[in-house]
Amino acid sequence: MKVTVRYFAQLRDAAGTGSEQVEGDFRTPADLWTHLCARHVFPLGAADLRVSVNARYVPFEAPLGEGDEVAFIPPVSGG
């Protein structure tokens, strides 16, 4: 399965990029996060994050599909 991962704020700084394509054997955002943690040193853990798939918040255990755009959302600070 191949997905696009988007990074923002502290995660963007840690990944050194705003976006990357990732291929591997993950069926949920939780799997994907574990996969990404092997590639990057993130300053935030899964408990601090929300996840979105294709511009909609979803649970960490939601199913992923080929070509999905996935983002792990650091604590927001808008307004």
Binding site: A9, A71, S77
Partner: protein
């Protein structure tokens, strides 16, 4: 209508069509960039947004408000990019025949924006350093603006 834009935000009343404003009570909230935060002097501020999710989630927030608060018109705008001190970072407007509903809807929308909108604030300090503000809602306690 939810708007995410890099240019200065319109005044709250300009976010709704004139017909919606004619209905009695109009409540506007504006959040502005302050010149200090937790004791450090801030010189400027930038907002990074996940545009696709911010636009979709902003529209969902407004749709939920219209459902929750009945016959009330709501709109909101959030800034992204670099802001100068004193500029509006967010504007929310709610209009209703009944002012109670307009207040409640406006308050609910700004709370939801601060809780859910994927936007991140980075402060620039006098000494040239920059830092992400961890979380506008939680780290400053329940009283935070």
């Amino acid at each position: 209508m939810f708007v995410l834009q890099a240019s200065p935000l319109p005044g709250g009343a300009d976010l709704l069509p004139p017909g919606d404003l004619a209905c009695g009570g109009v409540v506007v909230f504006e959040g502005r960039v302050r010149d200090h935060n937790e004791g450090r002097a801030v010189t400027a501020l930038e907002y990074e947004a996940y545009e696709a999710l911010a636009q979709a989630e902003g529209e969902r927030i407004l749709a939920e408000a219209a459902q929750r608060f009945g016959p009330v018109r709501v709109a909101a705008a959030h800034r992204q990019g670099l802001l100068q001190l004193g500029e509006a970072a967010v504007v929310v407007v709610a209009a209703s025949a009944h002012r109670q509903e307009a207040f409640a809807a406006c308050r609910w929308v700004i709370d939801a924006i601060k809780e859910r909108l994927p936007v991140w604030k980075r402060e620039h300090y006098v000494d040239g350093t920059r830092a992400w503000v961890a979380c506008g809602c939680h780290h400053h306690g329940p009283e935070a603006p």
